[in-house]
């Protein structure tokens, strides 16, 4: 749990890339300070030995109620397509994916 300020700046840069966010320097520093403050408060969890504890990912132990994997018409495909900011006929349109330069 190394959280030095310089380290934190790099961490924010890395996290921003993973989360598909992009900050100017001053905004990055703002979030670096807040993240550092929050991570410091989480160090409280180091007070307890949890090496033999099973993690809980869900509050209720019930097994998920899965239904058969059957294709069904949604009836709203056209309506969903209309919500796309850019579209071309029955397709969602996006800017270029491959850098051609």
């Amino acid at each position: 749990m190394t959280t030095t300020p310089a380290h934190m700046d790099d961490a924010i840069e890395h996290v921003a890339e993973l989360a598909k966010l992009k900050f100017p320097d001053d905004v990055r520093e703002h979030y670096a300070r807040k993240l550092q403050m929050i991570l410091e408060s989480m160090k409280k969890l180091n007070d307890i030995d949890v090496s033999h504890i099973t993690p809980t990912s869900h509050a209720v132990n019930a097994e998920g109620s899965l239904r058969p994997d059957e294709a069904k018409p949604s009836g709203i495909a056209d309506a969903l397509l209309q919500l796309a900011p850019e579209r071309d006929g029955p397709f969602v349109q996006v800017p270029k994916v491959i850098d051609a330069s």
């Binding site: 749990m1 921003a16 598909k20 991570l39 504890i53 509050a59 019930a62 998920g64 919500l83």
Partner: protein, 495 residues
């Protein structure tokens, strides 16, 4: 003093609708007038759908007249937190990113409301993507607390709580991930319940933290809370975490009293930092429960102090994953001028998310990232196990737990908005029930010297909402706190 139509509870309105003493159209018109007059001060409604509400009211009046398909909600004007997907009605989750989003389908809750014959007045303000404890993180501006317009209503369901307190709707449904129903309910002097995780379908609620999110009723009194819960509870094949368990009628047994029930008082919920006025009123409420026949015993939930850091690891982790879908491609707003796809993602997300949501995405992405996963996320999940075990042990000896809902009454707008840790600590008494998946309810139990409401919290065994409602009803009927109404004034008091 005559009670105006908008002051009636759902069960009182229902009685009048059934006898024909009032029509749903008259009731709906009364709410519309009140919203138009009062909401500019409060900012509760993000979207109003009065035309369709009046059509629903006419339909309800016909059903009431013919006495066909009448439910306790037929013709009752309700509203929904803007996190519920509503077919054909703008659903923003208080985010700029979804400013133009008109869903082509309904959430299960909206569908059930529609089927019950209720009237939908509109969609209510909240913290963006339900991330916040003050409703100050809405892209559409903060909501004011009707008890003091210089204070927050709590959050994230702040618009919902304020709307009920100010009689801008008869009832609502909120969502509670770390206290977002119970904490604003406490701060606005209303009743709010978070049912057991899985009790109510999450299908069509915009996801924040999927292992914690739960839908619940917010109401003027406990009877209304039970009626609203009846309308939405039950298994839903469209939500894989929905529980297939029998659903009782929550209004049955409300009046059976609490003689012989054992209620635990956790010593870790009366800590330094709790406002002494809150502690005094909650302790008086506990005395009242004793007078009503409950056995009161002290209990310990030793890992309570770890709940906030556990929550603020797990909830942002899940949020960072859930919010990955907002990329400007399929729905919502897309940032203009992107040069390529990666640029579209980055511009849309950076410009679209507000500062608190961005911070939570950063925290969540960090604790899940390679090299930090075990130290933060996995550790938090293990401590979550200990918090859950604390409750399970306690419930061997008690039927329910009683505690404050929040450590303070409503705080001033801007008071905590620059200090996330201070803001997060306000959720200290509500978060544990979410981590353990337990039902919890908040109901009014007093007023501070500044005339601000105080909430009493009851936490129950899994799927035992009925016992919580029974205790809450017994307490409510033996006191007058639920009858107090807000002043809609600004206060000069500093504290």
């Amino acid at each position: 003093m005559t009670t105006s139509l908008t002051q009636l509870t759902i069960h009182e309105s229902h009685e009048r609708l059934k006898t024909g003493d009032v029509t749903s159209e008259e009731l709906t018109q009364a709410y519309i007038k009140r919203i138009e007059a009062v909401d500019p001060q409060l900012n509760c409604y993000l979207t109003r759908v009065f035309d369709s509400a009046l059509l629903q009211a006419k339909k309800a009046d016909a059903q009431l007249k013919q006495k066909s398909d009448v439910t306790p909600l037929t013709g009752i004007p309700l509203a929904l937190k803007d996190i519920f997907i509503t077919k054909g009605i703008r659903t923003t989750c208080a985010s700029k990113l979804l400013d133009n989003y008109i869903p082509p389908y309904n959430s299960t809750v909206a569908e059930k409301l529609d089927r019950s014959g209720a009237v939908l007045l509109g969609k209510l303000n909240m913290d963006e993507f339900a991330m916040g404890s003050s409703n100050e993180h809405s892209a559409y501006g903060p909501v004011k607390n009707p008890w003091d317009l210089t204070r927050t209503p709590g959050g994230s369901s702040g618009g919902s709580a304020a709307a009920i307190a100010a009689d801008l709707c008869a009832g609502t449904f909120g969502t509670d991930t770390g206290g977002s129903i119970r904490q604003p309910a406490a701060m606005c002097g209303i009743v709010g319940m978070k049912p057991t995780y899985g009790r109510v379908s999450r299908y069509g609620i915009i996801a924040f933290a999927s292992s914690l999110d739960q839908v619940g009723p917010m109401a003027k009194d406990v009877m209304d809370c039970a009626l609203l819960l009846n309308a939405i509870t039950g298994h839903d094949a469209r939500d894989a975490t929905s529980i297939a368990a029998p659903v009782p009628d929550y209004t049955h047994g409300l009046q059976s009293g609490i003689k012989g029930l054992t209620i635990g008082v956790p010593r870790e919920y009366f800590i330094d930092g709790i406002d002494p006025q809150i502690e005094n009123h909650v302790r008086s409420a506990i005395d009242q429960l004793k007078l009503l026949g409950a056995n009161i015993v002290e209990i310990s939930l030793p890992h309570t102090e770890y709940a906030v850091p556990v929550y603020y690891t797990i909830a942002p982790a899940e949020a960072s994953s859930n919010l990955a879908r907002y990329d400007g491609v399929r729905y919502g707003k897309a940032a203009p001028g992107a040069v390529d796809l990666a640029d579209l993602f980055k511009r849309t997300r950076t410009e679209g998310f507000g500062p608190e949501v961005t911070l939570r995405i950063i925290i969540g992405t960090f604790v899940l990232s390679a090299g930090y996963y075990d130290a933060y996320y996995l550790k938090a999940q293990k401590v979550r196990t200990l918090i859950k075990q604390d409750f399970l042990k306690a419930f061997h000896n008690v039927d329910a737990i009683v505690a404050p809902t929040a450590p303070t009454a409503a705080f001033k707008l801007g008071e905590k908005s620059n200090d996330p840790l201070q803001m997060y600590l306000n959720d200290i008494f509500t978060i544990p029930a979410n981590l353990a998946g337990l039902p919890g309810i908040s109901l009014p139990c007093g007023l501070t010297e500044n005339n601000l409401p105080i909430g009493l919290q009851l936490i129950g065994k899994p799927l035992d909402e009925a016992t919580l409602l029974r205790i809450a009803y017994a307490y409510e009927q033996s006191t007058e706190w639920h009858t107090k109404k807000p002043s809609m004034q600004k206060s000069d008091a500093k504290k």
